[in-house]
Amino acid sequence: MRSYLKLELLRSMRSPANLILLTGFPLALYLLSTKVLQPKGLTFDFEASHMVSMATYGAMGGALFIGGAIALERTNGWLRQLAVTPLPAHGYLTAKLVSGAVGVLPSIVVVLIAGATLGGVRLPAATWPALAVLIWVGVIPFAMLGIAFGYSMRGQSASLAMMGVYFLLSVLGGLWLPVELMPSGMRTLAEYSPAFQAGSLGWRALAGQWPTGTSLLVLAGWTLLFAALAAWRYRRAL
């Protein structure tokens, strides 16, 4: 089981998709928004808040795409091969979750570093590691949603569907454009969405504030819901 975890960690570390899609893309978006577009009339520090948004956006993708790999490996018969080894079924899932959890760290760290250097974001020293941890915790529901997708759909279609969900949830959650710019009805909806609450952990930390009870409740609710969905799909797929 440890040997398989090692293999999965190795894979997540050298996957070009992880590097480009989940680290390079959020980084590029961050620079585009803060250096080129520079939205006017905001009442808050856009460089800092968008740094959190993009780090969350990248990490969220990493968490979701755990499911993409599961769907592919289910389809190409690798899971069948694993089923005839001593590795228990939960061993596979654990390896995926742990390697996924490690795999999202570069997306977070790279965007935070870009904020600190290129974006000129200044924060108390203790806030930086706190941000990384909060963003990391905030994307847990997406890992569950990814697993649910991985055991529901086959091959590339899972990745395509997840791309759609990824895009929708991150736009709705105000990671691309702040929710302050949304019409009020959409904004209310946005505030109950998982991506907004994941982001808000970090946004509040910028101001030195603890996460609100609502944030934690909403995130826990989504996590439970997606985990239940994942467990149901997992059992169906066995």
Binding site: L7, Q81, A83
Partner: protein, 261 residues
């Protein structure tokens, strides 16, 4: 386990390995359920068309699988036995079909299991790889482990199996030592050309079980090819281009089950 394509060999192995549930009956492997035997690391398996991870190196995959077993062979030794040591540093995505099959064989061997289960292990392998695979299988059997394999090649069963279970349409039609099965399907085919073949004379030749005439092309299926050939050369001077081939199992099956050619 011998049978034509679609006879139920893979299904039977899937049940034996706990990948599928049996409609009736129970499955035991080393006295426990298949899943428990697999978990305990007693079984190494090569599945037909099993997927592999495309983005890892051969050595990495073999090491990861070996690490799941309590007493694995060193990865280098496994790779040598499966004939993939030259490919150790290659990504699996770059391998050919035959090379991938050898990697699957390496994964089956990695844990040094008591029981090796191979489903159509030589599919896609060239002659040399086939020979070295069977040679390794033989070594394992001599060292005391058990190898169960499925094949649709009669010759593979003939050369490497002590016991043959013959399957047809999901049923066991024969189970016993290889000689017994060979007698049942009728060992060899004798082919030749004879312009105006006389079926009556052919059927009366010693050993002949079945006669098939297609224009000038004649195929005899015989139990005793020596006797058939001797009589053929002595009695029938008109025939040409005589050759014998091992009975193709698929066509032998057709004759056994009474279907048309």
């Amino acid at each position: 386990m011998l049978g034509p394509n679609g006879a139920g060999k893979s299904t039977m192995l899937s049940i034996a390995l706990g990948l599928r549930a049996a409609d009736t009956g129970t499955t035991k492997v080393f006295g426990s359920s298949p899943v428990e035997a697999l978990k305990a690391g007693h079984v190494g398996v090569l599945l037909q068309e099993a997927g592999l991870l495309e983005d890892v190196r051969v050595s990495e995959l073999v090491e990861a699988v070996a690490g799941m077993y309590a007493k694995p062979l060193p990865a280098v030794q496994t790779m040598r036995a499966a004939g993939v040591e030259q490919l150790a540093g290659k990504r699996i995505g770059q391998l050919s079909g035959g090379q991938r099959q050898r990697v699957r064989f390496a994964l089956a061997l990695a844990g040094d299991p008591k029981l090796l289960v191979l489903d159509e292990p030589t599919v896609g392998l060239d002659v040399d790889s086939r020979r070295s695979l069977w040679q390794h299988v033989r070594e394992r059997v001599e060292a005391g482990s058990t190898v169960v394999f499925a094949t649709h090649y009669l010759t593979e069963a003939d050369d490497y199996a002590d016991r043959v279970v013959l399957l047809s349409e999901g049923r066991i039609v024969a189970d016993g030592p290889v000689e017994q099965i060979k007698a049942l399907v009728g060992g060899l085919e004798v082919r030749f050309t004879w312009k105006d073949a006389d079926p009556g004379r052919l059927e009366s030749l010693p050993g002949v079980r079945q006669v098939h005439i297609d224009g000038p092309a004649v195929t005899l299926r015989t139990n005793d090819s020596d006797a058939t050939l001797r009589a053929l050369f002595l009695d029938l001077h008109e025939i040409k281009d005589v050759r014998t081939t091992a009975t193709d199992l698929e066509s032998a099956f057709v004759s056994l089950t009474g279907g048309n050619d």
